[in-house]
Amino acid sequence: MTDSLIPAARDAVEAAVAAVLGVRVLYPVSVLPGAERVRLAERGGVLRCELRIATDASVPVGRVVLAAAAAARRALDRDDALVVLEVASIE
């Protein structure tokens, strides 16, 4: 993925993941100022997508995680993307 495509890719992932049943909100990926809500990095052909989310307790967390990862891959149009999630809040 070229640098110029990254912001659009992030927006697409954010919108797709936010729409998943059981996802309440996407948090910034880290507490450092200006951290993005979707972190994308390509290394050696592997596209890594990092997310930090709040989930809804009415949906089992495993199901939310799998659905969010699938949504991210679809938004990136990359079946081989590695999706790494942190569930930081459940309510």
């Binding site: 507490v31 989930t55 307790a57 089992p60 967390v61 495993g62 995680v65 799998l66 990862a69 891959r73 081989d80 993307a81 590695l82 999706v83 790494v84 999630l85 942190e86 569930v87 930081a88 809040s89 459940i90 309510e91």
Partner: protein
């Protein structure tokens, strides 16, 4: 402004006693009874003054606080905004059995928040501290929760309801088996007539 008198020396005619001695005597609760001090009018007057002083000291801050005009506490808003960004993640518990290409963790902070919300939702109960203690790596995790009960709520029934709700919800959200669930009632809340303001 300085004082020329040497500190700690006799500052009044206290029949040979110093103010420091009288304060120490007061701190000891005026025991053992000191006939020299108690028979001296000057000492007794000083002791009475010291007791008044001490009583007023205890009230000083409360009165200052009550007398101060109400003010917007911008500093508090600034603090609360800042801390919500760094909300104590604690341990990271990995979700097991995920397909290749997906990695996920649930933070301890998320699980604490969940247990806290469950407790708060039980009528008559308020959650306190929530502690997770892993038993072995990758194994069961024990849970210890402190709660407050509202005065009048039936203790056994309320705690049982809390346990029921936690054990119903947690298996779908915690990526580990729950071991022990210990609930400790730490105190009782007095809720005034008509609820909290």
């Amino acid at each position: 402004m300085t004082d020329a008198r040497p500190p700690g020396g006799p500052v009044e005619d206290l029949d040979g006693h110093t103010l420091d001695e009288l304060v120490d005597y007061l701190d000891r609760g005026r025991t053992p009874y000191d006939p020299g001090i108690e028979s001296s009018p000057a000492c007794r007057i000083a002791l009475a003054g010291l007791e008044r002083l001490r009583a007023r000291a205890a009230d000083l801050l409360e009165e200052d606080a009550a007398a101060a005009p109400a003010r917007p506490e911008h500093w508090m808003t600034a603090v609360l905004d800042r801390i919500s960004l760094e909300s104590r993640p604690g341990r990271r518990f990995a979700l097991p059995d995920l397909p290749v290409g997906t990695d996920a963790v649930v933070t301890e902070g998320a699980l604490r928040g969940l247990v806290r919300a469950v407790g708060d939702s039980v009528p008559g109960l308020l959650t306190g501290r929530v502690r997770f203690t892993p038993q072995e790596p990758g194994g069961a995790v024990d849970l210890a929760v402190e709660v407050s009960l509202v005065f009048g709520a039936p203790v056994d029934g309320t705690v049982a309801e809390f346990r029921r709700r936690v054990l119903a919800l947690l298996p779908d959200q915690a990526p580990f088996p729950i071991g022990r669930l210990d609930v400790r009632v730490r105190d009782v809340l007095e809720v005034p007539e008509g609820g909290a303001s």
